[in-house]
Chain length 239, copies 2
């Protein structure tokens, strides 16, 4: 286990599943990308609690912050003048107002810089193509073309693979998979709207709830609305 | 002239030449990327003076700042514990200590986000391949592969070309070309070391001086060392 994997860890379920995968074969380093999202402080807290769980040392936790998306402000995730939509169809073909232009391009660029600097040979992401709310920068085609850009834009001796282990999973499969790896799902956060108790209504909450329902597992976090967990079993049973 | 070009403007000569090119056919927007470089404040001042010269309105001047390179600190440009080399061979094959890992990947990612947000159809860069001190992210192969990554990672309706008009020029050709476009070269800054008077010895100063000498033009900025401008003519002659 000499090789290092840098995992882009948002504090959500998908990137936790990626981290749990990387943990099997690699020494772990983690990157949190603060782009001025509404729930940034909560995400950062989750990032640290998850990093603590995996015993990742402080010097391998990278916090990157940029004012980029605050400056351009075209997404409801960073611009408080745009309302977070509720009860949207999470499988609509339309690109929603929560789209942050080329967010994952910026995250992968920062990850490439860090990976080259620390000598990591892998970048792990929690990108999910099918349930990605229509974001173009979550698709396999994008990840592959970014890999080529990163490979040509770094030193000739630098080769960094990009692994997206949950890319083709449904949200339900992500929950089942993360559970099978004993990943600390209670430490994750998904809500776009709130930081104390999940709203249960935004796109991201709806996808999360769909995932737990599909997996037949009761989500261990609390919601601001009543959820019917009939036929689901507690998460603790998987630990 | 309805289309907008977003120009990555560092405050140096190469990106000024790119800006002067874009000015011929496009409405201008400019991006300054502050990555914690030693001479960041001076670069920002040059950025504004150049933007003033081209009458670019405030709302189309984008200042992006990131802590990325401060956090990883592997370049003499951002890490003050690493000395800026002097009198290096500017055409060495080795990648120098001023290399900032995947810097241009991060700059182009930010530019892609902004261009998509404001509806710009072009990104202009001042990348120079031959005189780029061996940085891998200044080469045409990188720019082309990044273009594909950006095209797949943005909305299906978004198409943003990346133009690098001085990519294959020598530094001397850049100076002659910028002069021919009446670009305000006296407003640019290149020194990696100092912000008041150019050191004349760092990689970047040496390339700049080589460029003016090749072009037969006296550099209008001041240097901390004596320069032999024999056989060169004043820059004002080109205005």
């Amino acid at each position: 286990m000499n090789e290092t994997a840098l995992v882009c860890l948002s504090g959500g379920m998908d990137s936790l599943a990626a981290l749990a995968t990387a943990d099997i074969n690699y020494k772990l380093a983690v990157l949190h990308f603060d782009y001025g999202q509404r729930t940034g402080a909560k995400e950062k807290q989750c990032f640290h609690e998850i990093a603590d769980w995996y015993k990742i040392p402080t010097e391998l936790r990278f916090h990157i912050s940029t004012n980029l998306f605050k400056v351009i402000g075209t997404s409801c995730l960073t611009d408080k003048s745009i309302a977070v939509p509720k009860n949207d169809d999470p499988h609509s073909e339309d690109i929603p107002v929560s789209y942050v232009p080329f967010r994952n391009g910026n995250i992968l660029s920062a990850a490439t810089s860090i990976a080259e600097a620390i000598g990591a040979t892998k970048i792990f992401t929690g990108f999910v193509e099918e349930d990605s709310s229509g974001y173009p920068d979550c698709r396999e085609e994008f990840v592959q073309s970014f890999y080529h850009a990163a490979d040509t834009g770094t030193k000739p001796t630098t080769h960094i693979d990009i692994e997206s282990p949950v890319l083709h999973m449904s949200k339900g499969e992500v929950v089942s998979y993360a559970s099978s790896l004993n990943a600390p799902l209670p430490l994750t956060w998904s809500c776009y709207e709130k930081s104390d108790i999940a709203c249960g209504l935004c796109d991201s909450c709806q996808l999360r709830l769909l995932g737990f329902t599909q997996a037949g597992i009761i989500d261990p976090i609390s919601y601001d609305i009543n959820i019917d967990w009939n036929k689901c079993i507690p998460y603790d049973a998987f630990k």
